[in-house]
């Protein structure tokens, strides 16, 4: 499923009758099966862009098409993972995972698929546990299982590992990449962490500048699993930092 964004603009109404322009003329094409990282500092509009792709927010201008069809509302084929685990506290792990499928009446093979995902995500033995008894990392695994159970073609991730400790985070990064290589979905992953971006993405898109738009897009031609100490990693990292600094200096002068 390709995602095409053309001249995407988003403005939020402000209390004083003014408007806050968050995104201006964003053009981006995401190819099928890519793992695209949207990288940028906090408040630069990453979540906004992802919510637009999900159909959770209306566009101010421009168009987003998925496989040629305009995005107008949320659709389960574009699953979303949020920074804070959004599990329903009155349901146990298993019930949370099948929540969406139950809503949509997808009962076929559900039990088998649930068991599979519980196994893959390392949740075996936690099926009947309530969310408040889970660690953040485990809760985020449950959310990932819930997002993936309906075989979405696109997975949208909004800083899903930002509130995890470093060790849990690196486990989950690896697991997600392995999972993506097996399931072959298209991933759009938002983060403010440069290392995370280069570790995971097939492409890194820098969001920033004023007005906010795409500064630059980098192809990452490194094999998985990636080595943070490798030369390729280091070169790309330096290039990205240089670009971010330029944009920051430009903003201060302008």
């Amino acid at each position: 499923m390709t995602i095409q964004m053309e001249k995407v603009c988003k403005r939020f109404p402000q209390p004083a009758g003014k408007e806050l322009s968050v995104l201006e003329d964003v053009d981006l094409v995401i190819g099928e099966g890519e793992f695209v990282i949207i990288l940028g500092e906090s408040g630069c509009g990453k979540s906004t862009l992802l919510n637009l792709m999900a159909g959770l927010l209306p566009l101010s201008d421009g168009e987003i098409r998925v496989k040629g069809t305009r995005v107008a509302r949320p659709h389960p084929s574009r699953a979303m993972l949020f920074q804070q685990p959004s599990l329903l506290p009155w349901l146990n792990v298993e019930e949370n995972i099948v929540f969406g499928c139950k809503l949509r009446g997808e009962k076929e093979n559900l039990a088998v698929r649930t068991a599979q995902l519980i196994e893959i995500m390392g949740l075996s033995g936690f099926e009947k546990v309530k969310p408040h008894e889970l660690s953040l990392g485990m809760a985020q695994r449950v959310c990932l299982a819930r997002a993936m159970i309906g075989h979405p073609q696109i997975l949208l991730l909004d800083e899903p590992f930002a509130s995890l400790d470093t060790i849990t985070r690196s486990h989950l990064q690896e697991e997600l990449i392995e999972f993506w290589m097996v399931e072959k979905f298209t991933a759009v992953f938002v983060t403010h962490d440069i290392d995370e971006a280069i570790l995971m993405g097939t492409k890194v898109v820098l969001l920033g500048g004023r007005p906010r738009g795409i500064l630059q897009a980098y192809e990452v031609n490194l094999n998985y699993p990636r080595d943070i100490a490798s030369r390729g990693f280091f070169l790309l990292r330096s290039a990205i930092i240089k670009k971010l600094r330029e944009s920051f200096d430009g903003r201060q002068e302008g």
């Binding site: 979303m80 804070q84 685990p85 959004s86 329903l88 506290p89 929540f99 809503l103 408040h132 889970l134």
Partner: protein
């Protein structure tokens, strides 16, 4: 700050129903009961042993408790208890059936909330008992009039708390469900209603408290059964020990009703991670 050590202790003692903490709670509960009885004895002897007040000595603990034991073996008492509880249950059920969907809708649709705010706040401030003359004109039996009064007294807390519960629903859950393809009615039934259950139970508990308070004066007016009726009857026949015993009974039953909802509330209070 005086309050800090107490809060700190609460923090330490909260987790787990360990034996020590249970003893701690039970100990202070017993102290409270002891103090209550002491004040009753002391206050009673100060007031009702003074010249001119001897006729009221039935209110003292010993005669009252004796009368209370008598009540427990009396058919009329149990019939009254049942009549009163039945009225409360019927009145609250009607209020719940009306108030729950209204509260859910008001919480769900902002425009409806803005529209209903003023009338609801206005009606809520009218003492339920002031509807009595109206109720007696509209309904032909005292029984239905009392249902009406209890409904009028309890529908407001049910509407307001349910609506508040809906407005407190975690927006992440709503986004998640929308992302999973939930339609409006599914959002309501699968997210909003279960998320509001703790607030709905709170509303029921408040409603029960109000209903139990309104019931007794409502039963003074023309009806010939119920705790309000027998308390009035005891006053007319000047059986003050019996009157005191019925007051104690009203307190007990209210305490038990409230406690049973509190237990249900505990079962539904999940920890939000």
């Amino acid at each position: 700050m005086q309050i800090t050590p107490h809060l700190f202790q609460k923090r330490l003692k909260k987790p787990g129903p360990n034996g020590r903490y249970v003893m701690f709670r039970v100990g202070y509960a017993l102290l409270g009961i002891g103090l209550f009885i002491f004040l009753w004895v002391a206050g009673g002897y100060l007031v009702f042993t003074r010249p001119g007040y001897e006729q009221f000595s039935g209110f003292l603990p010993v005669p009252t408790l004796e009368a209370f034991r008598g009540l427990l073996f009396e058919d009329q008492f149990w019939q009254s208890v049942w009549a009163s509880i039945r009225r409360v249950i019927i009145g609250i059920t009607i209020a719940f059936v009306l108030g729950l969907p209204l509260g859910l809708l008001i919480g769900f649709y902002e425009k409806l909330q803005l529209t209903t705010y003023t009338p609801v706040q206005f009606l809520r401030m009218i003492s339920p008992l002031s509807w009595m003359p109206v109720a007696l004109l509209v309904f032909h039996s005292f029984e239905s009039a009392i249902y009406f009064l209890i409904t009028m007294a309890t529908v407001w807390p049910i509407i307001l708390n349910t609506a508040h519960g809906v407005s407190q629903v975690n927006p992440h859950w709503v986004n998640m469900a929308r992302n999973q393809g939930a339609k409006d009615y599914q959002l309501l039934m699968k997210i909003v209603v279960p998320a509001s259950i703790p607030y709905i139970l709170t509303s029921l508990r408040l409603a029960l408290g109000v209903a139990w308070i309104v019931l007794v004066p409502a039963e003074f007016l023309g009806i010939s059964s119920g705790l309000g009726y027998i308390i009035n009857d005891a006053r007319d026949t000047m059986e003050y020990d019996r009157l005191g015993a019925i007051i104690i009974a009203i307190g007990f039953i209210g305490f038990i009703l409230d406690g049973s909802i509190e237990i249900i509330q505990r079962m539904f209070s999940w920890n939000v991670a």
